[in-house]
Amino acid sequence: MVLILALPPVGLSGQQAQSASSATSRYQAPVISDTGDLKGPRQPIFFRHDIHAGQDQIPCMYCHYSASIASEPGIPSLQTCIGCHQLIGGSTPSHQAEIKKVRDAWRERKPPEWIRIHALPGFVRFPHMRHIKRLGTESCVTCHGEVKTMAQVSQVSTLKMGWCVRCHVENKVSRDCSVCHY
């Protein structure tokens, strides 16, 4: 019988290691010349969470505003992007090229098709607002990892049930099946 369990290493990529030392000083997003090494799927636009959320310190809730009030965090509309990028054109040619994609998409009224990274099976309900209410608006890292330092977002948690339940047990909150499964 073939029994190969390929478990990829979790949460130890180069960019995340860098972030450990910059807890107090302002985070500087690295210059990335070769995107081939980055973890996670390549997106239609090289949107850098590490620049937006890390270097520029835009709160997660600025774009994913519904996470604190609804079960779904939502993907920001293109209008949200253009709100800033009408004026901000980027400082380097590579940034300018990516921002141009955003502006083109806006002009052509054709939103980008992002590749979904975090997904739960259809029989699981995850109310984002309950978790943020309890753990605070900075608690996204608990499940999504240090997105602030990710040039390209990848999944760091398994998002499997055992992983959910471990946290529920530690925090002494309900682990009744019908809280999530209905």
């Binding site: 029994l3 920001p76 209008q79 009744d176 099946c177």
Partner: protein
């Protein structure tokens, strides 16, 4: 530690061995990253992902004009609920209203304009909107002078006004047609009171109800409103003086309305008027009520109708007539209504006039029967007008015909269909390929009512608005816009509508418009118009001898009645309505003919044997349903089925009962729905599709019935049914169970205070209308399985209505008790301990949880459930293009995103809308509070027109459900099994003192 191999352990071991092979493909984390997330370009202001938005609009499934609120999630309409602001339906909805959304996302909608190809064999082909309108403009110019007719449904609205304006402009005329019109009511009101309008009826304040065939709970005028009023008058509410109005139903068969009666008078068809006059005669001659002075005019009419003179004609005893008259008059609030089948005989108008006289002599006209509302349902053209149109068409006098919102080729099968062929050019605005549309030359599909701007005037004082709640699903166009363009006028129909309502409002208009859209309409009281008895009453005397067709001995009286959910057939393309068992017969997906057991025995018929009914006008074949709820000398068939087109759910299904009917109008200009016909056995047989297990409950305590005297004598703390709970032999088991509960309570989530969710269902209020069933399908993504699987008992209906006949001392049915049967959320549930994988388990808040992703489909739980309320997915009903696909595109757009769509091999059942419980809990926590009583409303409770269902926390002593659970009438179904259900049923109370059932 060695564990004995029990069932659970065995499956665990099995699971580990099997997992090895699966692990190879399941390596890595997360799903394959192929899903795409497409953001909004500009996010709509009122759309937040994960949060539902509600829009107020109006239901257009019938002319009643109920207000609805549409729940929209991420741009999709997922559920309709009644609008509490509307004075008509007060937040409730019927099955047909609930299912309107299946029209919006119907897979068989006409998706774009089409035109019949003149050359290529006359097939329909796609055309663009501009091209179609240009072509049609030319046709209109061409047809001027050759007869232009615009046929609509009941359309008392701005759209109707616009069409009228346009028809005047092009020299045409508009007619409106409903298959079940109210011609007899208008004619009868004119006879008795000199006004051809329709009044409103105040059921809520009546103290005695008498219906002459009027099916006011299922199809008559405004069923949701009337049911709400009826339950307030007829339900038992602890001896309040206004409650427990006795309800007597007069008619040849028990309809949904009839089976809620306390007494059934099965008179000979057509003799209802004689009964009403005989009752009036008793009231006047014995001075049982304060008779209005001008009633003296009636003396000639009434003296011909003494009980002695007419008893034989009616087919009931004289003293019954006297008793009914006495009860009716002495109640001090008698309301008699006539409609349905009683008004569809050739003497229907006279019957209405007779019932009007009965109301008049007891003083109910002006108090309970209020003229002045002028219901829009009565605004349609008479059947005589439609028959005249048909002749005009057949004679080639109609050059151009437009059809909108009605399907005459189905309800007038022979005549209209043939006449259609003689019309120069036929244009349909239907968004469905119905029987009429299929014969048209051009199809310009209208938006669904949920995609439209519109208004309607269901009654004086009320204007109900419609606003688009979703983007159009297909390339359809609002007919109002098309008409404006054809008329050469600028602007859209929305502008037209606003302009109409802007008049006289000046600067305040914008605020008015926003407020009105938010509320769903403008709601005012209708003015009450006093009416007096007409001076010429001789015409109101119903002929004593009812004409009996042309046939001889071998002919049967056949009545054709509107199907309670499919109505005139318009509901037939909606799978929820097809799969919803008819509330009386419990038959789904096909028509039937009702035959009395005595007649069936005489003819040697069994249920399911086909009978061919042949009238002078047509012949159709129906399977027999043997039932005591129809007179022995009468056969009854429902309309609704037998479409020649109208999509995959409706087409070629069963037989069209309209085929049997006369195409000519009768004396008062209406249509006669009773015919005489021969019935012939064909020797064929089919298994009927029914959910009925047994018509009787055989003393098992499934339903409990109390006589009114006994019910009134009950005091708080009485428990007339509780002797059945926990019999002695179960005491030991109960003690053991209590100990287990104690142990359990020490574990994790089960510790501490928890709610215990429960339901109270008042059988005195439940009418069996089944609105809750459709609401449950809509809320919980329940699959429709289709005719074949339903025939094999594989329907998924989490909530079903069980109907048990109530019988008198002779065993004759006098009505029925209806009991909604759903998961009882037992405290000591038989399903839980037998589940090998803990998919069926007890939640801390007292539900019998069902974890779909754990379920492996052993079906042990279903075998062990004494209530039979667990349903198994035999197929993958969500599979694209699958053999039993329940949601073909775009029907899947109405799926509730808060509820898992179950897969093949999974058991499912009611969990008290656990998604609504969790939603309310989430919301309460966000607001730093606890869930309050009334925060959680289950889908069945929300829609119930008679308020029979109440949900809440049984551990909260201030909750309504706690109070109801302690009601002396309360009982638990099969309580002797010691299942400790969370549902308390409140016994049905009937007017007889010694009721018997089963």
């Amino acid at each position: 530690m060695t564990e004995p191999i029990n069932r659970r352990r065995f499956l665990k071991v099995l699971g580990v061995t099997g997992a090895g092979t699966a692990a190879v493909s399941a390596c890595g984390i997360g799903p394959e990253p192929t899903e795409r997330l497409i953001p909004y370009l500009i996010q709509p202001e009122d759309q937040i992902p994960g949060i539902a938005t509600y829009y107020a609009t109006t239901c257009r499934e019938c002319a009643a004009g109920c207000g609805v609120r549409v729940r929209v999630r991420e741009g999709r309409a997922v559920k309709l609920e009644g609008n509490p602001d509307s004075p008509i339906n007060r937040g409730r909805l019927c099955s047909r209203g609930q299912a309107a959304i299946q029209g919006l996302y119907n897979p068989d909608r006409v998706q774009h304009p089409m035109v019949r190809n003149a050359t290529g064999g006359g097939s329909l082909e796609a055309i663009d909107w501009d091209g179609a309108i240009q072509r049609l403009s030319a046709k209109v110019a061409e047809a001027r002078g050759t007869g232009i007719v615009f046929l609509t449904g009941a359309e008392a609205s701005s759209f109707g006004d616009l069409v009228d304006e346009w028809m005047r402009q092009v020299g045409g005329r508009r007619l409106s047609y409903e298959a079940f019109g109210f011609d007899a009511l208008r004619a009868g009101n004119r006879m008795a009171f000199g006004t051809a309008s329709l009044p409103t009826y105040d059921f809520a304040n009546a103290k005695y109800l008498l219906s002459f065939g009027a099916d006011f709970l299922d199809t008559w005028l405004s069923p949701v409103e009337f049911q709400n009023g009826f339950s307030r008058a007829h339900a038992f509410d602890g001896g309040r003086s206004a409650s427990m109005a006795k309800f007597v139903y007069v008619g040849p068969r028990l309809s949904l309305t009839g089976m809620n009666a306390d007494e059934w008078i099965g008179v000979r068809p057509g003799s209802e008027g004689a009964l009403a006059l005989a009752m009036a005669q008793v009231v006047v001659s014995r001075r049982l009520a304060r008779v209005p002075a001008d009633a003296s005019r009636l003396s000639a009419v009434l003296s011909a109708h003494t009980p002695r003179a007419v008893a034989e004609e009616i087919g009931i005893e004289q003293d019954v007539i006297v008793r009914l008259a006495t009860e009716f008059a002495r109640s001090g609030g008698g309301l008699a209504v006539s409609g349905g089948i009683a008004t569809q005989y050739a003497n229907g108008a006279e019957i209405v006039a007779a019932v009007n006289i009965l109301n008049y002599v007891v003083g109910s006209v002006g108090t309970l029967v209020k003229f002045g509302a002028d219901l829009a349902a009565g605004s349609t053209n008479s059947f005589a007008d439609i028959a005249a149109l048909t002749s005009d068409m057949a004679a080639g006098k109609v050059g151009l015909l437009f059809v909108h919102g009605t399907n005459p080729a189905h309800s007038l099968p022979g005549a209209f269909q043939q006449a259609l062929g003689k019309v120069g050019y036929k244009v349909s605005f239907s968004s469905f390929m119905d029987d009429t549309t299929a014969a048209c030359d051009m199809i310009l599909p209208d938006h669904h009512p949920l995609e439209q701007w519109a208004d309607s005037r269901p009654r004086a004082g009320v204007t109900a608005f419609q606003q688009p709640v979703v983007q159009p699903v297909f390339d359809t166009k609002q007919t109002g816009d098309v008409v404006l363009r054809l008329a050469g006028r600028s602007g859209t129909f929305q502008d037209y509508l606003q302009a109409k309502h802007r008049t006289g409002r000046g600067a305040g208009f914008d605020q008015f418009w926003m407020d009105t859209l938010a509320k769903g309409g403008t709601y005012g009281d209708a003015p009450t118009r006093a009416v007096r008895l007409s001076t010429d009453l001789a015409a109101a005397v119903p002929p004593l001898q009812q004409e009996r067709g042309s046939g001889g001995e071998d002919k049967q009286d056949v009545v054709v009645f509107p199907h309670p959910v499919l109505h005139d057939g318009r509901g037939a393309n909606k799978p929820w309505l097809q799969e919803l068992p008819d509330p009386v017969s419990k038959i789904a997906w096909h028509s039937w003919v009702e035959v009395h057991p005595d007649t069936a025995a005489r003819w040697g018929l069994a249920t399911g044997d086909f009978l061919v009914l042949t009238s002078d006008f047509g012949s159709q074949k129906f399977p027999t349903w043997i039932t005591p709820s129809v007179r022995p000398d009468t056969l009854a068939v429902p309309t609704g089925q037998g479409h020649t087109a109208y999509g995959r759910y409706a087409q070629d299904r069963s037989a069209n009962a309209f085929e049997l009917l006369d195409r000519k109008a009768n004396a008062y200009g209406g249509r006669t729905f009773a015919v005489s016909a021969t019935a012939t056995k064909t020797g064929e047989h089919r298994k009927i599709v029914t959910t009925e297990g047994s018509p009787r409950e055989r003393g098992r305590g499934t339903v409990e019935v109390l006589g009114v005297a006994r019910a009134k004598a009950l005091h708080a703390g009485d428990h007339p049914f509780h002797h059945e709970e926990t019999p002695e032999y179960a005491a030991e088991a109960v003690a053991w169970w209590a100990e287990r509960q104690h142990e359990k309570a020490e574990l994790g989530d089960y510790r501490g205070e928890q709610p215990r969710w429960g339901l109270a269902i008042d059988l005195s209020k439940c009418t069996g209308c089944s609105a809750c069933v459709t609401a449950c399908y809509a809320e919980n993504n329940i699959a429709t399985v289709g005719e074949d699987l339903m025939q094999r008992g594989r329907e998924m209906s989490w909530l079903r209505l069980e109907r048990y006949w109530l019988t008198d001392e002779h065993g004759e049915p006098q009505g029925a008790v209806n009991s909604p049967m759903l998961c009882q959320q037992c405290g000591n549930a038989p399903c839980e301990p037998v589940c090998p994988v803990y998919a069926a388990y007890h939640t801390p808040d007292g539900l019998n949880g069902q974890v779909y992703n754990r379920c492996v489909g052993t079906r042990y739980c279903s075998n062990n459930c004494p209530y039979k309320v667990r349903y198994f997915n035999w197929y993958n009903y969500a599979e694209r293009e699958g053999a039993y696909e329940a949601w073909p595109e775009p029907l899947s757009m109405l799926l509730n995103p808060d509820v898992t769509v179950r897969e093949k091999g999974v058991m499912e059942k009611c969990t008290f809308c656990v998604q609504r419980i969790r939603g309310a809990q989430n919301q309460a926590r966000l607001e730093d509070r606890n869930v309050r009583d009334g925060d959680i409303v289950t889908a069945c409770q929300q829609t119930c027109p008679s308020d029979a269902i109440v949900f809440g926390d049984l551990n909260d002593r201030r909750s309504l459900v706690y109070q109801l659970a302690g009601n002396p009438r309360g009982y638990h179904v099969l309580a002797g099994l010691n299942t400790k259900p969370a549902i308390t049923y409140l016994a049905r109370v009937v007017a007889q003192d010694t009721p018997s059932h089963g």
